[in-house]
């Protein structure tokens, strides 16, 4: 009896924690805006990132941005039809390596930030939709605005980004051709190896020492 009671208590506690976390589940456009505003506020004050400190930019992305991304979904999209060939372990490794590649590559973009203004377009989606696009535009003087769109999917009560499109180009599916080529020539393990090699090559810790 006591055991059952403690189990129930534990369950209730667990559910309670989850409800707290989900209580302020926010709309997808509000989520994108708040994360973007957060990151930009930090970059504006951080002289190291502004002067090109990639490691600090990566750190910022890892703490502030990554929690809102679904990298398993992104990797699945990037690999495409070959995803079925991969076993659970390979899927996990692929996801991890692809995450590292994207984070290392695109964190650099933060070091290029120079007071560009970001406009958020009104969200065109019905409340019951679970897959939406949040559209934004980066404006800068003397140049055409760059369109940046985020694809988000609702998981439970939370929204997760699974694709980012810059000027209509998906940062995720843009990899599909070359990933397919790697799988054709070396199988899933061949693709994993290529990704690992690539990540070593662009490791900010290594290039900083050079």
């Amino acid at each position: 009896m006591k055991k059952v009671a403690s189990l129930l208590a534990a369950l209730a506690l667990g559910i309670g924690i989850q409800f707290n976390a989900f209580a302020d589940a926010i709309a997808p456009d509000a989520l994108v805006k708040s994360v973007t505003d957060d990151v930009i506020t930090i970059v504006r004050q951080d002289k190291a990132i502004q002067s090109g400190d990639t490691r600090k930019a990566v750190e910022l992305v890892e703490t502030k941005v990554l929690p809102y991304f679904d990298f398993a979904h992104m990797t699945r999209l990037a690999v495409g039809k070959d995803w079925k060939q991969a076993n659970a372990d390979q899927k996990a490794v692929l996801t991890n390596e692809f995450k590292t590649l994207l984070v290392r590559t695109y964190s650099n973009a933060l070091t290029q930030y120079r007071n560009q203004q970001i406009d958020f377009k009104p969200l065109k989606a019905k409340p019951e939709e679970t897959d939406v696009i949040v559209r934004t535009e980066v404006r800068q003087p003397g140049a055409k605005a760059v369109q940046i769109d985020y694809n988000l999917e609702k998981q439970g009560d939370n929204w997760k980004v699974y694709d980012v499109m810059v000027a209509g180009v998906s940062l995720v599916t843009n990899y599909r051709d070359s990933f397919g080529q790697e799988v054709r020539s070396g199988g899933i393990d061949g693709l994993i190896k290529s990704l690992k090699d690539k990540n070593k090559q662009i490791d900010p810790a290594v290039s900083a020492k050079k």
Binding site: A10, G14, A72, G80, K84, N108, A109, V169, N174, S178
Partner: protein, 280 residues
């Protein structure tokens, strides 16, 4: 085998562009689509891949030793100068952009481009200042390749042009005509024409400094990365930033597979509540 999905794709494209007026244009599109499917093994849209890769390598070297260094020097110019140069060439382009908007039946946009040209050529001192944007007349990006695409002309095989980079058969034809009506190319005096063209090119290249290294970092195979980039980029331009969303059938299948795997994994551990408590 490879031809069939391509034809289906082409049919879909044609369906999407049901506004295609001319039967002959649509036939041409189908024709281009089929030729593009000819390559065995490689990318269905890139039958010329060996030649394209060679041109790509040439372009990379030319960029590394000539264009990029030139752009880097130019980049030392103060921002207002660079902005003025960009605006000047942008203004020259606005008339043809407007013409293409009209050709696509986008009359409001076309009229706005004409208005931009009038305002910027006068109040904006020959286009150096982009007053029109401040007045709310937004800058558009159109060219003949987009107009052809708008009316359903297929893109045809992917082509890497010397110095200019990624293109395809449709856009190369479009570019040829774009240039034949381009005011800079109509300047009779060779020296002036060449310096203007050079300045325009360097200004464009300089705008890409910073972004160009991202592609080097991101790509496993830069050639394939740029090819895919160009295809998506042009599709987005043809649809003015809102291409139709296609649900990926492979992804849907994979999603179901993965969900099944997760279910199977969790189904094995319901008898261990202690373990769950620890995880909380």
């Amino acid at each position: 085998m490879r031809v069939i999905p391509c034809v289906e794709q082409e049919m879909k494209n044609r369906k999407a562009a049901s506004r295609a007026l001319l039967q002959s244009v649509a036939t041409l599109a189908l024709g281009l689509g089929l030729t593009a499917c000819a390559g065995p093994g490689g990318h269905p849209k890139d039958p010329l891949e060996p030649l394209n890769r060679a041109t790509f390598r040439f372009n990379e070297v030319a960029d590394k030793y000539v264009m990029r260094p030139a752009a880097q020097v130019y980049d030392f110019a103060p921002l207002p100068v660079k902005t003025g140069v960009g605006n000047f060439f942008g203004n020259i382009g606005d008339l043809w952009i407007g013409a293409n908007n009209l050709l696509q039946g986008k009359f409001v946009d076309g009229a706005s481009d004409g208005g931009r040209f009038l305002v910027n050529s006068t109040v904006g001192l020959l286009g150096v200042f982009d007053i029109a944007t401040e007045l709310g007349l937004e800058k558009h990006e159109e060219d003949l390749g987009q107009t052809l695409g708008f009316w359903g002309v297929g893109d045809g095989p992917y082509i890497v042009l010397p110095f200019l980079g990624s293109s395809n058969l449709r856009d190369s034809v479009g570019l040829y005509i774009d240039l034949s009506v381009d005011p800079v190319w109509q300047v009779n005096e060779v020296a002036t024409r060449n310096s203007l063209s050079g300045l325009r090119f360097v200004n464009r290249r300089a705008a890409l400094l910073g972004a160009d290294t991202t592609a080097d970092q991101a790509a496993l195979d830069k050639y394939g990365y740029m090819r895919s980039f160009y295809m998506q980029y042009r599709l987005n331009q043809i649809y003015d930033g809102q291409p139709p969303r296609v649900k990926d059938p492979d992804d849907e299948e994979a999603r179901v597979d993965d969900a099944g795997a997760t279910l199977a994994a969790t189904a094995e551990v319901p008898a261990a509540p202690d373990k769950k408590e620890n995880q909380e």
